[in-house]
Point group: C2
Chain length 84, copies 2
């Protein structure tokens, strides 16, 4: 069993309205030192099999087909070997 960690974030230059609103909310709560907030999403995916190379290719395909929007998202894939 392998575990993959996929982090999906907005590409540089894409406006992040959720982050902007969280920044505003934090400032309203007197956290005035907060200058910027960006939001990203992480998927931890458990995959059957032991072939890291193949797992990475499959996860790439998942990102392209479902997890990420190639117009606005960048993604980073880390494969973690599970001890079981």
């Amino acid at each position: 069993m392998l575990k993959a960690r996929v982090e999906i974030k907005l590409k540089k230059g894409i406006v992040d309205p959720e982050g902007k609103n969280i920044k505003k909310a934090l400032n309203l709560l007197q956290f005035n030192e907060v200058k910027n907030v960006k939001v990203a999403k992480v998927f931890e995916i458990e995959i059957e099999g032991d072939d890291e190379e193949k797992a990475r290719d499959r996860i790439e395909a998942m990102c392209r087909r479902l997890l990420a929007n190639p117009v606005i998202n960048d993604y980073k894939i880390d494969i973690i070997r599970e001890n079981d």
Copy 2:
């Protein structure tokens, strides 16, 4: 300027319906090797100041007051020093 990375995820044992649905969708797309999916959220927060200890305390407070729900979420804070 410091940057903090806050990862917010569901506590162990809390049902993750979004993850479950993504797993189902991936299986339907013929990614049958996917056995489990968990979803987490990352906030990248830029903070004025240079005191890492203080920044960590403030980020903790932000998590308690706004970013995380202590009933269902665990969070992890990493402080990254920016070179500027």
